[in-house]
């Protein structure tokens, strides 16, 4: 699967990471243009109210399945049972987008339940290319691949942005740019977040993530943790603006996995992301109008 497909993606609006606790509120109190994202691993079940709730959400709103357990860069290819379970969900829900992470989480049959960093070497790149190809073929879909949060500098022969862009070009996958992860990596590993974003071609980007982080209780500001348990930090909002200026309007997702506030509170924060996208659309429209005037 080497070519990017033309499947309609997510709408150019802000979405929200959705938890079953908010299903009822989401159905009753959501703005029309919202879309939702869930972790498919939480829905690999036989049936019951949770799966029915998600189906009901899907009937009314666009949906993204954002996996956390495929271990695409790991020493073993994603196991067939996992791929089959995801394929069943994809067939059932027909999501607008499927995404995963450029990490590993499984070795020798043990699942480590975390998004573990890969060395950025040619050998590791080949493993990830093989992993993405195997995964995309298994589910019959192009995916978006998300950049990880880094807590320590990893062994590297190239920058992370170059590493990911090369993988996208080799596999036909798109990129999910998590600006919170870029900010965390920039602080923990002393990289330039602006340079990172500028190194990614806009046409590869299918989605942007924003989220909140926490400081490590022991190492404090020396280590930022990608907790998804807090409001989005001002620095991350600034990086989102930079990313939208660089890439043009893209779907933006607000992630929140822990310390979950009431649904209206999440909607307020999501509205800020929607405003940023609309601003990006307006800039693009002005630029197009100016070009048209010049041509006329």
């Amino acid at each position: 699967m080497s070519k990017r497909n033309n499947r309609p993606g997510l709408p150019l609006h802000a979405g929200l990471g959705l938890k079953p606790e908010h299903f009822s509120d989401a159905e009753k109190h959501s703005p029309k243009n919202i879309w939702f994202e869930v972790h498919p691993e939480n829905y690999m079940i036989g049936g019951g109210p949770r799966l029915r709730g998600l189906l009901s959400i899907r009937e009314r709103f666009p949906l993204s399945l954002h996996g956390v357990g495929a271990s695409l860069g790991g020493p073993e290819l994603t196991d067939n049972a996992h791929i089959s379970a995801l394929k069943r969900l994809v067939d059932l829900l027909q999501p607008q987008s499927v995404s995963e992470h450029a990490v590993w989480s499984r070795a020798n049959g043990v699942y480590y339940a975390d998004l573990l960093p890969l060395p950025r070497t040619r050998d590791a790149m080949q493993r990830l290319v093989d992993g993405v190809n195997h995964f995309q073929e298994g589910i019959g879909r192009q995916i978006l691949l998300e950049n990880p949060s880094n807590y320590l500098p990893v062994i590297s022969e190239m920058d992370e942005a170059d590493f990911l862009v090369s993988i996208a070009k080799q596999t036909g996958c798109g990129l999910l740019v998590d600006v919170n992860n870029i900010y965390i990596s920039s602080q923990n590993c002393d990289i330039d977040a602006t340079e990172y974003i500028r190194a990614i071609p806009a046409d590869l980007v299918g989605e942007i993530h924003i989220a909140g982080f926490d400081v490590d209780p022991n190492l404090e500001q020396r280590l930022l943790i990608d907790s998804h348990a807090a409001d989005v930090a001002p620095e991350v909002w600034r990086l989102l603006d930079l990313a939208l200026a660089q890439f043009g309007p893209k779907p933006v997702l607000l992630e929140r996995d822990d310390n979950l506030p009431e649904y209206p509170v999440l909607l307020e924060e999501r509205a800020l992301a929607e405003k940023a996208i609309q601003h990006s659309k307006a800039i693009l429209q002005n630029a197009t109008n100016n070009d048209d005037r010049r041509c006329a």
Partner: protein, 261 residues
């Protein structure tokens, strides 16, 4: 920032990282983060692995966690993760060996009844996430009879959500109280006595629990294999020749325990 590869291969990287995650021994990290000034930050990965696994067990065994308290539950769960690390990326089925693990590790502390609480938690979870079944309704019986068949020859089974469990202690009442109120009265006693329970999800998605008498248990066990009503009834009557088949069957029908085979 470019850092030269230190381990001989990516395979060594994964092996060293895995060994660190399982043991917490920072000596393995030299192959993983060779240029790091300090490996203290790497603890975030091992802590993340343990925390996610322990939280998954707490979500699957909430009444056990309430019963033993968070601190002791974390201690037990960490030991379980070390003995039985997760194998699948979906955590919903993780912890299937917890009842046996508790029985093996806590019997000498007179806490063997914890296994029974765990089996109830496990059955509840199974019922909640099980696939939907086509439940038997009165119209199905009418159609069967209108087609000239005797009702006793109807073959039935239990819905996919149903679990029959036999416990060694009478913990059901305490489990139900904990599940709904999150605390137990101080004078709660746990008797060592066999208890047969049926756990299932009804048509309104409520997970229900019912204690079964010996003859009721025989009737439901027979149904579990997908048999006729006549055969299930004969199994129950062997246990109790005065077993009220009609009223028990009506109750099963009304509470969504019967599924179409």
């Amino acid at each position: 920032m470019m850092i030269d590869a230190a381990p001989e291969s990516t395979k060594d990287y994964f092996e060293s990282f895995s060994a660190y995650l399982q043991s917490g021994d920072t000596r393995y990290l030299a192959d993983v983060f060779p240029q790091a000034e300090s490996h203290a930050a790497a603890a975030v990965y091992r802590n993340g692995f343990l925390r996610a696994s322990i939280d998954a067990l707490r979500n699957s065994y909430p009444v056990v966690a309430l019963l033993v308290g968070n601190e002791y539950f974390d201690f037990l769960a960490k030991a379980y993760v070390e003995q039985h690390p997760p194998r699948q990326a979906t955590f919903i089925a993780y912890g299937e060996n917890v009842p046996k693990f508790l029985q093996q590790n806590l019997e000498q502390h007179n806490l063997s009844y914890l296994e029974d609480f765990a089996r109830l938690d496990q059955a509840w979870l199974h019922a909640y996430f099980a696939g939907d079944s086509t439940l038997l309704c009165e119209q199905d019986i009418e159609l069967w009879q209108n087609a000239g068949h005797a009702i006793e020859n109807m073959s039935l089974c239990l819905p996919e959500s149903a679990r029959l469990i036999t416990l060694q202690h009478q913990v059901c009442e305490a489990w139900l109280i904990l599940k709904s109120t999150e605390s137990l009265p101080d004078n709660t006693q746990i008797e060592s006595q066999i208890e047969h329970l049926l756990i299932w999800r009804d048509a309104t998605d409520q997970v229900r629990v019912r204690a079964l008498q010996t003859a009721e248990h025989a009737f439901v066990i027979a149904l579990q294999t997908g048999t006729t009503i006549a055969h299930a009834a004969s199994c129950a009557l062997e246990m109790d020749n005065a077993f009220p088949i009609l009223s028990f069957f009506s109750e099963l029908l009304d509470t969504d325990i019967l599924a179409v085979k």
